[in-house]
Point group: C2
Chain length 107, copies 2
DNA sequence: GTATTATACCTCGTTCGAAAAGGTATGCAA
DNA sequence: TTGCATACCTTTTCGAACGAGGTATAATAC
């Protein structure tokens, strides 16, 4: 389908998660809800997908994490690293190229 | 990522192929080239993906096929069925909803 | 008091699509 | 005669997505 470098972006997941962290740190559960609400359920990010992705993004150096406890329950806050911001920009560009390419096909 | 019904559309493949047949019948090799040229290589449709997809779309009743020979080489022309046109419209709508949802996230 | 819902993290097994590579065959050009 | 373009196809491997499950706390409802 799309160029292999573009694939992760097309899976949409990585771009969406990084973008959700653009404004500041957030925790997983919060991210899942934000995506659901902002897209009226059009884009689903299930926990089975979200948590492994967050771990992967952290392992790749795009996210940094911080563990705390809030009202007895554990929380893991994530924030973008400098590397993560660069990645966000790249995936954003790639997504726009894909949309533009699709426009040329669908026009 | 996206709703399961939307997934195939997001894989982009099915929508792209159906749309390529909107203007009239075409054969596989021709479709692959058209996609490559119209998207400046941004969207790749390899043969290992395209031919099975064409067979699948035909099996699902979205495409009808016609076998001929041109200059000694075999060719299989595909064209949209009425059902295929409906599917094209649906996938097109779904794609637009996805793009709109992404816009809300990326804005 | 107890059951349910919401919060919040996580993993595992299956399934399904994508990617790469290979396979067949003809015709034409270098 | 070697290689490239045309044109069809399959198979094998790999990874991502999905569903389902698992743990635990706190608040709310009954």
């Amino acid at each position: 389908m799309l160029k292999s470098e573009t694939r992760r972006a097309t899976g949409v997941n990585e771009l969406v998660v990084l973008r959700c962290l653009h404004a500041g740190e957030r925790y997983g559960y919060e991210i899942a809800q934000a995506i659901h609400e902002r897209t009226s359920g059009e884009i689903e990010m299930r926990e089975g997908q979200l948590y492994p992705l967050l771990h992967d993004l952290a392992a790749r150096g795009y996210l940094a994490s911080r563990r705390t406890k809030v009202e007895g329950r554990p929380r893991v806050y994530y924030r973008l690293t400098a590397k993560g911001r660069t990645q966000l920009e790249q995936l954003h560009d790639e997504w726009q190229r894909v949309v533009a390419a699709m426009d040329r096909i669908l026009a």
